[in-house]
Amino acid sequence: MLPEALNASLQEKISSAEHPRELVVDVMLDLQDHYGYLSDEALEAAASLLDLTPLEVEELATFYTFIYREPVGKYVIHVCDSVVCWMDGYESVQDHLCAKLGIKMGETTADGLFTLLPVCCIGYCDRSPAILINRNVYGPMTPEKLDDILEKLRTEAG
């Protein structure tokens, strides 16, 4: 069950839209913020709020990179693998992160802090190779900078 307040705020948003289904991404993001990821329950809730079928929500949920259909860590690190970052060697960024965190791309560390995912272009080609962590952009990345960021986030998480 959705919390009363969240449900009410979503209902309000939807009722003011001309075509409720145009809000599907907003609704999914709001639900994701609440659950930490877009759980099956959240998916069904989004569908019933928007008068869509679960399939129709799933089609979009699995299309978008920033909608997570599985639980993710506290910090989701998206490594850009698009053309400019590739020219500037994103692979070394990726390899360093994998080695440092002891996980492969797509996995989450055992302590639940970090998830590694690729992303195809975040529009920060001027800072390539770039990464994105919980809606903050970092770049251009070097192994040292990566270490600093990870350390800082670890401390922050306590």
């Binding site: 998916l43 869509l52 079928t53 679960p54 399939l55 129709e56 799933e58 089609e59 699995t62 299309f63």
Partner: protein
């Protein structure tokens, strides 16, 4: 009209024709996966590349995405284009499992054909293939995602074309996945088409798995007889049974698709307990003995009580040949006129509808897609004639308005305006509509049924019923439309409605609109039966005469009143009073079991024949296979018996028309060819319009439309007893109507074990307001009590239906025949909670 050159051949095509279609008109089939004539172009697969040599486009381009234009010179065989297509196929095949030898699509696979013809013979890619987990999609469709080449045909058909929302495309990039959000049965009654449109083996026909390769099958064109639309199909037979049925293109009727009731409705033909031998009082007998027994007894009865003591009744699932032979037999023997209909009401509705159809007004299902306004009266398309819903959806997609007037909680795969109106109110409402359209300056109002409706007959609340914003909007839209089509059912409506519908269509015609008329009939060959029937004899009348001992012997021809007659107790009692009951059928019906003498007949697939659909289109069904007991049965699943005979085992059945001629002659043995020749002559004699069916040369694949207008006789006076009031006036009375469902109510398809798995359990619909008033809630079990018994059924309150109406499916798992009539009035005291705690 653009003029272009493709492969050095010149062709002129209509504006808007894609190059791929233009080429097809020249007989050049450019490879394609995502392109499908019914679904249009998306340019996703890149395999239809051709080279444009001259004109507005240059170089290699997708032929499905470019409109044919003047001055284009196109080459499909240019080296660059051929090379391009070869590479496209190679990359489409990167992840393909190459499992053709074990794939059910192998042998009729577009991907297989194009891979071979495209020249991709050797696999170069050495990397890992991506693989998927398949889903359970129900008992009809087998899923195998690894074979997918991402053409998107399935999701485009399922969602865009058909309008269902539980199968689609998920994920992105190389992970794209076609399926459902969760495993489970597909909800669309058109899902079977996925097996036809998938160009590879992602969706294959589940019931016919492991039964053979396409080249093992005897394949022949056929027609579906599971409703009155007459969709074109292809049946595949192997080892003496039909194993698969697919859609066959008929642009005038079903287009490229069929519904699942039709696709999986053929299993009755190969049922284990299908009676295949003549039976005298349940004991097997030879044809000679049985025919002699019948002829002797009928002769005795005829001699003793007069020839009118013998009657024949036939159902609309018989071929035109059989319907004609019944009439001929009754005439020659001077028996009662044959009964082609169940009761007087159905008879009147069907006769009037058939008489109203002339080539000017009638539209085909294909033409219905071009309507800009559809008014459906007393029709529940998905439940009564599923492909009608598909055609209406295509019209809706092109912008047509759809208005439906029906008491039932009708669900359609598109948005429409629904007037939930009690059956009795519809006639009055229509009369009002006609009056509004007429106006004072149009004196020549066609039709006879209207005036008495606009006189005092209309009750007071009709005024409120008509004077609503919705009615006003409807009239305005109807005025503004240019291609309106009136769709009219003949099942739940009152007797006046079919005539009023034709009056309305004619009225719209006189307003300079390209108006059309489209009826639904209760059976596959009802139209043929209506043309042949020239008396008011109906089965119900025969029963009355049996009850008064005027009729002593009854011959039921491919008709099982135990399934379809609404008063079971009366039927049982009446049949017991007969001196002789003869049943000709191919079903293991209760009538067959009750018969004194049972004579086995052949199904459509073994006998073939003509069928006339609800728009008057005659289609010819060729023989699909020679009949006989399926090898799976004679061999009990193992090797068939190692005995030799000249006959096909278990093939004692004969076409019903043949048995009827043998009854006439008192013996079997005339040559088949001889009888067939005579039969054709009878067809011509039976109705002048049928002579067109026998013209030399191949019978047109799309059928021949028969203009019944003058032929079907004048409009039958309607039975006043059925000119019922709109809705039930007292709050204590409700009207119960019995209805068709997509699955579970149609005589032939209920014998399909696979449809049995997808059919819904029977339930009783009533409006939410009535439910609240009567103190019932969703899922309650209620008992409906009539003077003949009680039936228990689950209750399903619905918001979108008429008040005062109860809707009960004529479900084979329900003894609805205890309700005594197709429509009855029930007092609220007759609707109880079981165990008397109402």
């Amino acid at each position: 009209m653009p003029n272009l050159i493709i492969d050095e051949q010149e062709i002129e095509v209509p504006e808007g024709t894609k190059v791929i279609e233009a080429a097809e008109r020249l007989g050049i089939v450019i490879p394609r996966f995502c392109y499908h004539p019914a679904l249009g172009s998306v340019g996703a697969c890149r395999v239809c590349a051709v080279k444009f040599l001259q004109g507005p486009f240059k170089g290699v381009q997708m032929s499905c995405m470019i409109d044919a234009q003047d001055g284009m010179v196109v080459s499909t065989t240019d080296e660059q284009a051929v090379d391009f297509r070869r590479y496209v196929i190679e990359w489409l095949m990167l992840n393909h499992p190459h499992d053709c030898p074990v794939c059910d699509e192998g042998g009729h696979c577009l991907l297989q054909d194009l891979t071979v013809s495209g020249g991709h013979g050797i696999r170069r890619f050495q990397g890992e293939k991506r693989t998927y987990r398949d889903q359970y999609l129900g008992p009809l469709i087998q899923h195998e995602m690894n074979r997918c080449i991402q053409c998107y045909r399935c999701s485009r058909f399922y969602q865009e074309f058909a309008g269902y929302r539980d199968l689609g495309v998920m994920q992105i990039g190389s992970r794209v996945y076609f399926g459902r959000q969760k495993e489970g049965s597909l909800q669309s009654p058109f899902a079977g088409n996925l097996t036809d449109i998938c160009p590879t083996g992602v969706y294959t026909d589940k019931p016919s798995r492991f039964s053979g390769r396409r080249w093992d099958y005897e394949r022949s064109p056929s027609v579906c007889i599971n409703c009155s639309l007459g969709c074109r199909t292809v049946v595949s037979a192997r080892y003496r049974q039909i194993v698969r049925q697919e859609a066959r293109l008929n642009e005038a009727v079903n287009g490229y698709f069929i519904c699942d009731r039709g696709r999986y409705g053929f299993y009755y033909a190969g049922q284990d307990d299908r009676p295949r031998q003549p039976l005298i009082h349940g004991k097997e007998a030879s044809w000679e003995t049985s025919l002699k027994a019948v002829c002797d007894e009928l002769a005795r009865i005829s001699d003793t009580f007069g020839p009118k003591a013998v009657a024949c009744s036939v159902a609309a699932r018989s071929s035109l040949e059989t319907l004609t032979a019944v009439k001929r037999l009754c005439r020659t023997m001077r028996w009662q006129d044959p009964a082609y209909g169940m009761d007087a009401n159905i008879h009147v509705k069907v006769k009037n509808a058939a008489a109203a159809i002339d080539s000017d007004l009638a539209v085909s299902l294909g033409e219905l897609e071009n309507a800009d306004y559809i008014l459906a009266l007393g029709a529940d398309p998905v439940n009564e004639a599923p492909m009608l819903a598909m055609a209406m959806r295509q019209a809706r997609r092109k912008g047509a308005k759809v208005v439906l007037v029906d008491p039932r909680p009708v669900d359609l795969p598109f948005d429409f305006v629904h007037f939930p109106m009690a059956p009795g109110a519809m006639g009055h409402w229509l009369a009002y509509l006609l009056k509004t359209l007429s106006g004072p300056d149009t004196p020549d109002m066609p039709g006879a049924a209207t005036p008495e409706h606009s006189k005092g007959a209309a009750p007071e609340n009709l005024h409120d019923l008509w004077h609503t914003d919705q009615s006003a909007a409807l009239t305005k839209d109807l005025f503004q439309s240019s291609r309106p089509i009136i769709v009219c059912g003949t099942d739940i409506v009152t007797n006046a409605v079919p005539s009023l519908a034709s009056d309305l269509a004619r009225r719209l015609r006189s307003m300079k609109k390209t108006a059309g008329l489209f009826y639904l009939f209760p059976g596959a060959n009802t139209f043929g039966a209506a043309m042949l029937s020239d008396s008011d004899t109906v089965f119900e009348k025969i029963l009355t005469q049996i009850e008064t001992y005027e009729i002593r012997a009854l011959v039921l021809v491919e008709f099982d009143p135990f399934f379809s007659f609404p008063d079971r107790i009366r039927l049982e009692a009446a049949l017991q009073g007969l001196d002789m009951l003869v049943v000709l059928d191919y079903l293991d019906s209760r009538s067959a079991k009750t018969a004194d003498v049972f004579l086995p007949t052949e199904t459509l697939y073994e006998a073939g024949g003509f069928f006339i659909n609800q728009e008057g289109r005659a289609q010819k069904v060729p023989v699909a296979f020679q009949g006989g007991r399926p090898i799976i049965q004679t061999g009990a699943g193992s090797h068939p018996p190692r005995t030799f005979s000249k006959d096909i085992p278990g093939h004692d059945a004969k076409p019903a028309w043949r048995v009827l001629t043998e009854l006439e002659r008192g013996a079997s043995g005339s040559l088949d060819k001889e009888i067939r020749f005579e039969l054709m002559q009878w067809l011509v004699d039976a109705h002048s319009m049928f002579s067109g069916l026998l013209s030399k040369g191949p019978f047109p694949d799309a059928g021949i439309r028969i203009d019944a207008g003058q032929g079907a006789g004048a409009r039958v006076e309607q039975d006043q007893s059925d000119a019922s009031h709109p809705g039930v006036e007292s709050d204590d009375d409700l009207e119960l109507i019995t209805v068709d469902w997509t699955f579970g109510t149609e005589e032939l398809s209920v014998r399909s074990p696979f449809l049995g798995q997808v059919e819904k359990a029977p339930c009783l619909f009533l409006s939410e307001k009535d439910a609240a008033r009567l103190g019932f809630s969703h899922g309650d079990r209620v008992a409906l009590r009539s003077d003949e018994g009680t039936i228990e059924v689950k209750l399903s309150p619905a918001g979108n239906m008429a008040r005062g109406t109860l809707v009960l499916p004529r479900h084979h798992r329900l003894d609805w025949q205890h309700m005594k009539a197709l429509k009855i009035e029930l007092n609220k005291n007759q609707i109880l909670k079981p165990h008397g705690n109402a």
